[in-house]
């Protein structure tokens, strides 16, 4: 389902923050300079374009061949990319909340955004996720405390709300409230 990840373009366009591994501060950061999308060279094959176009169409709920700003992140993720919300905001030019709900992008406008994200070297593998979770493995026994994970996910980074965390953690905790994180990562990656 994921399109072929084509990181063909070696020179990324100019960015204000060269942060490949996202580590945003919890407080609101100073607004970074917007991304110049016109400088992005779109380099997808015909096949890939058709794949992306179909997926794009699935998210167009209005029928004007466009999608709202607040859907861009989801479409990229549906296509197998993994940008943070902050990165997407940057790509969109730091829109206001109003813009996010009301402004729309057509497919041609979406392509450079997608290309930009594909070019950004922030791919994470199975190992990365496991390593990330290992941080919380106090006893080094392959499990983390579910409760701790919940707190972390709701207070750090791009905070998740309670419903999201519940959906994520359903069925993962054993009777002691622990999560075997390798199995957890396998589970979540097997969508």
């Amino acid at each position: 389902m994921a399109p072929k990840k084509d990181a063909k373009k070696p020179d990324p366009p100019k960015k204000a923050e060269p942060a490949p591994a996202p580590a945003p501060e919890p407080e609101a950061p100073p607004k970074p300079a917007a991304v110049d999308l016109s400088a992005v060279k779109v380099d997808f094959s015909q096949d890939q374009m058709e794949d992306y176009r179909e997926a794009f169409g699935l998210f167009d709920r209005v029928g004007d061949s466009k999608v709202a700003f607040n859907q861009i992140a989801d479409i990229m993720r549906a296509l197998g990319q993994n940008p943070t919300n902050k990165e997407v905001l940057k790509i969109l030019g730091n829109p206001s909340a109003d813009d996010m709900a009301n402004k729309r992008v057509d497919f041609e406008g979406f392509l450079p955004m997608l290309q930009f994200v594909i070019n950004s070297p922030n791919k994470a593998s199975f190992e990365d996720y496991v390593e990330g979770l290992r941080v919380f493995d106090k006893e080094g026994n392959g499990t983390v405390m579910g409760a701790e994970l919940r707190i972390v996910l709701s207070t750090l980074g791009e905070k998740m709300n309670e419903a999201e965390i519940d959906a994520l953690m359903t069925g993962q905790e054993d009777e002691n409230g622990c999560v075997n994180y390798e199995a957890f990562v396998k589970h979540i990656m097997s969508v």
Partner: protein, 786 residues
């Protein structure tokens, strides 16, 4: 971070890593959600496309039959078989009616343990009726007839427009489509209370079809209507229509439950449906109507029509000349290349990059053999015109011979009645769209798509503030559009499949601010997490889709061979997607779906013969009957069954050999496909299981292994599904694996599309493909009945 200085950097490093880890998980999770959302959307599209395409089939069939009636000579046997459905509704005098529908000589045996009604009904009896149905009892036909007669008497004096007010601080509850799903109605009553003086209700149509308890829902609603006529309001929906009922299951349900008196019950219901009010207006401010409006909707006109003359939306009022105004002829549809975004609403044709195929919906029939060419259509029209001009008197006589009573209307009224018919059609069949304007609704075949400007204009003209309508299934049970001036309300939960959607009802107080209650029947769905329910529904949708693909095998192979001129048996995946869309016309995102439908490719080329072998659920094993005939019959089994039911004029469930033969001939004419007499004979001989010279329709359809939903319980499959999932909590296998393919599970899984008849009916039990079949419980076998 006020730690000791020596530990700060260590601590900072730890915090940093924790942060990175958190962000990683969060990003990953959001990706998971987005991919789930995509799957949910295309699953929805699959169900909707198939629902609408089946509806189009019905319209086409109807038009085709109408064409036959118009153009065959009176003595033709085909015409005789079907002309009765075009007869004008008999306008009998009351006395005759009462005699025909008399129930007094129907005895109720002592062993009958269901409710015994005495009229006039009271609240206790109505409540008892609900309880009885909850306990799966059936009301005796004597009481059914009596109840229906009383209902009819009441409905006749009701106006076309119900007027309700929220005085005395009463809150009014409004419900949308129920479609025979008794569980949902019971759930609504449980959450909200039964109808009473303090609890008025408006029901917005589509009580029947698809679900298995349509008659029970009707009886309950009519009982409450009789007990509280001032507090229960019923609107007519597009499924309150006997011709639609022939295809979508209500006719079959009634005949199955009431073997002796089913026919009379259906006839009485036919009249009752035509007497149902058309719209309800609350406080002069809110309009409640089943479908919607058009740019010409005029409530003043609506108030004046004789609504009972419009028995079926598919049957326009009788005309004085022979030219039929078919609903939307095939050519008209073909000529209007029409972009429709199935996900939201319409787009007018416009350029969209180099290929806009996924948005384009050209409304041609699936089978190229059915689509009429322009020339053929002109020929038909020419013939009709000739017929009418040159033999006006003969046609007049013919038309009169069709109806059992002459219509009192004079020819000037034809124009008015057409206008009225269109108004009613618009009310019951229209859908909102996001673009301004008003265009005919070819997807459904009736009514129109209307835009926000039309809403605005309509509300202003009639001094209203909100339109509440139903007719379209919504994921969350309700949805606003047109700047919150139009509300779609749908009360049948799990409509496409268990877990597919919630149902909802709305309460309006004097402030006319809607308060929504959402629900989902079947407690088992609460056990499923959102991802599990998405996957389950997706699984069913894909199964239905695979069935469709398999049913169109010969056409698909021809289409593939267009791309594979050297007959290598291989096709590229891109060409696969184009070919499939070309043949099926479902406007689905085939590229996105491809990984679910095609498992085995080398170098992104697909061996399509192997692919079909994988899709094949059971090898057809008949030697006697031609393969293509069976394939055709299988593909068009809904149409075939509909024709059977039309031909079966006494609604006995049996048709004679001769009629069976004629039916197949009708079908072959409709499909423009030759079926040789020999092939028909073979089929007839192998079909007569009774050996009594007649064919049981259900038994014949059983040959295609359509499982009768009423015999299977919905809960059983879900239970097995849950059990299965409990065994594998951590693993989420892809759909192509055999995790659902164990025959028992698959068997019950389908059963439980608890009354959801999606197009071409997934009530055939098909275990999944890919060689995991060890048991022969499956379906879709093209074996004629043994």
């Amino acid at each position: 971070m006020g730690c000791g200085v020596t530990k700060t950097s260590e601590f900072n490093k730890r915090c940093d890593r924790a942060m990175k880890a958190a962000v990683l998980i969060q990003r990953w999770y959001r990706q998971y959600v987005a991919r789930m959302e995509m799957r949910r959307r295309y699953t929805w599209n699959i169900f909707q496309s198939m629902e609408y395409s089946d509806l189009q089939d019905q319209i086409k069939l109807y038009n085709f039959l109408g064409y036959l009636v118009d153009n065959f000579t009176p003595s033709s046997s085909e015409r005789n078989l079907i002309s009765h459905i075009f007869r004008e509704n008999e306008v009998c005098r009351d006395a005759e009616w009462e005699r025909y529908f008399s129930y007094t000589n129907i005895d109720v045996p002592d062993i009958y343990s269901g409710p015994r009604l005495t009229f006039p009904l009271d609240m206790d009896q109505a409540a008892d009726l609900v309880e009885a149905f909850k306990n799966k009892q059936q009301l005796h036909s004597r009481y059914v007839l009596q109840l229906l007669l009383e209902t009819w008497k009441l409905l006749r004096v009701l106006p076309n427009i119900n007027r309700v007010s929220t005085c005395h601080s009463k809150e009014i509850t409004i419900c949308g489509d129920l479609h025979g799903q008794l569980e949902d109605l019971l759930l609504i009553f449980y959450k909200n209370g039964m109808p009473s003086l303090e609890k008025p209700y408006v029901f917005n149509g589509d009580y029947v079809d698809r679900g298995k308890d349509s008659i029970e829902i009707l009886l309950i609603l009519f009982a409450f209507l009789l007990v509280h006529p001032g507090d229960v309001y019923l609107n007519r929906g597009n499924h309150e229509d006997h011709i639609i009922n022939l295809r979508y299951g209500f006719t079959k349900e009634v005949l199955g439950k009431y073997k002796m008196h089913g026919k009379r019950i259906l006839k009485l219901l036919q009249k009752i449906f035509s007497w149902l009010p058309l719209v309800t207006v609350i406080d002069h401010r809110v309009l409640v109507v089943h479908g919607g409006i058009s740019d010409t909707t005029d409530l003043g006109l609506i108030a004046r029509v004789d609504r009972h003359r419009y028995v079926s939306a598919l049957r326009p009022p009788k005309k004085k000349n022979a030219s039929r105004s078919n609903l939307y002829t095939d050519t008209a549809i073909n000529e209007m290349i029409f972009c429709k975004n199935r996900r939201g609403s319409l787009t007018f044709p416009k350029q969209f990059g180099s290929r806009d195929s996924f948005q384009r919906r050209s409304l041609q029939d699936f089978s190229s053999t059915v689509a009429r060419t322009v020339e053929e259509e002109l020929e038909v029209r020419r013939r009709q015109a000739e017929f009418s001009l040159s033999s006006f008197s003969m046609s007049h006589r013919n038309l009169n011979s069709l109806s059992s009573e002459s219509d009192p209307d004079s020819s000037e009224n034809t124009e008015t009645s057409n206008e009225e018919w269109k108004q009613i059609l618009d009310l019951l069949w229209s859908d909102p769209m996001s673009q301004d304007g008003c265009i005919p609704n070819e997807i459904r075949g009736g009514g129109c798509y209307w835009g926000p400007d039309v809403t605005e204009d309509f509300l202003n003209r009639h001094n209203l503030q909100l339109i509440i309508r139903s007719h379209e299934c919504k994921q969350d049970g309700y949805e606003f559009c047109h700047n919150r001036k139009v509300l779609t309300l749908f009360s049948a939960s799990n409509y496409y499949d268990v877990g597919s959607n919630r149902g909802a009802f709305v309460r309006l107080g004097p402030d006319l601010v809607p308060y929504f209650v959402q629900y989902q029947a079947t407690s088992m769905t609460r056990g499923l997490s959102f991802p599990q329910s998405v996957k389950r529904t997706e699984h069913t949708a894909l199964k239905v889709l695979r069935e469709q693909l398999f049913a169109h095998k010969s056409q698909l192979i021809s289409a593939f061979q267009e791309f594979d001129k050297e007959k290598t048996g291989l096709i590229s995946l891109n060409n696969w997607a184009s070919a499939v869309e070309q043949v099926l016309h479902l406007d689905l995102p085939w590229r996105v779906l491809r990984p679910q439908l095609v498992s085995d490719t080398t170098d992104s080329m697909l061996n399509y013969y192997c692919w079909f072998r994988d899709l094949a659920l059971k090898k057809p094993s008949s030697e006697n009957v031609e393969q293509t005939l069976l394939e055709t019959l299988y593909r068009h089994r809904s149409t075939l069954e509909t024709i059977f039911r039309i031909v079966d004029t006494d609604n006995s469930g049996l048709i004679s050999f001769e009629d069976f033969r004629q039916t197949l001939k009708l079908l072959s004419a409709y499909l423009k496909m030759e079926i040789s007499d020999e092939a028909i004979n073979d089929l007839v001989i192998s079909t007569d299981t009774n050996n009594d010279g007649s064919i049981d329709i259900d038994e014949f359809m059983e040959a295609f292994r359509l499982v009768d939903r009423t015999r299977l319980e919905s809960s059983r499959s879900l239970q097995m599904f849950k059990q299965e999932n409990q065994d594998q909590p951590q693993e989420e296998e892809t759909q192509q694996t055999a995790d659902y393919a164990s025959p028992q599970t698959a068997v019950s899984q389908n059963a439980d599309s608890a009354g959801q008849q999606t197009a071409d009916s997934p009530d055939s039990q098909a275990a999944d493909s890919a060689g995991s079949q060890t048991e022969d419980t499956c379906h879709n076998s093209l074996v004629p009945p043994q």
